[in-house]
Amino acid sequence: MGTVFFADKDNDVLTVGQITDLIKEQLSQSFRSIKVKGEISNCHQSQNGHVYFSLKDAEALLSAVIFRGSLNRSSIKPANGMQVVVSGNLDVYAPRGNYQIIADKIESFGRGALLEELEQRKNQLESEGLFRQERKKALPICPRRVAVVTSPTGAAIQDILTVLARRAAAPLVTILPTAVQGEGAAQIISDQIKRADRYNLGDVIIVARGGGSLEDLMPFNDEAVVRSIAGCSTPVVCGVGHETDVTLADLAADIRAATPSAASELISDRSEDILLRARGFRQSALDIIHRRLLEYRSRFDKCNGQQISFHAISRIQELIHRNDDAATQLQTIMTNRLSEAKTNLALANRSLVESSPQAVLERGYARVEHMGKSVRMASQLEIDDQIDIVFAKDRVKARVTNG
């Protein structure tokens, strides 16, 4: 308990410096070390690396500073909107006449509570069955229209449109604009999801936002958003944050995409594939028909008129040729045989002629006849028989004298 001042006499007047000193002394005696919780705002860093900020809540504001040394040692770096607990001591900054807390340590109070709250909410919704695999709907294979619930000025929609711009088979995109962080965003997101579904603004709904802190993504952990997604009859793809960010909206969606780009690729892949194959068909069909026509034609050409007679003629000629050879051969054989035969005949003839009785007689031999009969041996004759000695051309009579 410090000195109590009650100024009612003229020599109780203090200078600004004096009163400030007194206040300073009072404060530092009464508040050795304190821990204060609140939300960081007006956060900025000076040139020497010290960070000046305010801690606020609904009722009041407390100036604060964390010097460079303490800042480096702190695992939490102060940023606007953070819910924190600041440990330190109170001080008065005389030149400005304000008091502040000089922070030794900043801890994330809000984040812990936030995560706790989130965990509880997740368990609650999970027990209602809202995240069950069986509830999840299949995506249409080739959606022609897609409704995107996202910020019209954010990075997410740009990423989505960049992906789709490269696709010939891109679907029609209808954007349902919404805030994607901060107070009140959750309600708008939830409403836009419902509108996308009830007014049938797409064959599939994409809920998208770019990367951010846990605080930034909080609207996508909101119960109303989860219930809207779960209540859609249109399939919902959730592409929120970076690959590692998982929000309750992701758990409720029919498909979770790692990022907004991934979401747009997912819903446009198969259409693109089919379109490319349809185009490919035209070319390959032409090739096939062309080849078949060529084959057909070459077979036909082989059966064409001119080609036929040429073939026929050459075949016939071939036969004739072969025939000729055969004829010639036959001829030769016959000729040979014939001359052979002639020779034989001549020989036969000669020998015939040569061995005729007349031919013998002509050679000087004679024939004997007795009483008109040929005589072959002497014993057929007796002495004094009258015989005819027949020569080739004439005869004489003779008498056998002895025998």
Binding site: C142, R145, A168, L172, K194, A278
Partner: protein, 74 residues
Amino acid sequence: MDNGFEDRLRRLEEITEKMRDRDVMLKEAMNLFDEGIAISTGLEKELSDFQQKVEKLSNLPPVDGSGNVDIEPF
């Protein structure tokens, strides 16, 4: 709700096989060719209808679907 894209693609694949089949007469192959071209042209047109088309909902009709939507180009 796939507008028969998958079925039509499958038909194109069947047609391609049949056209290659030497047992299929040339005349029929040509009929199949015509059919295939018609299908692929249809697919191409339908799938590329919405290229680069982006719109946005410009009003906030009742969430239960009972109102009317205003759509604008984005």
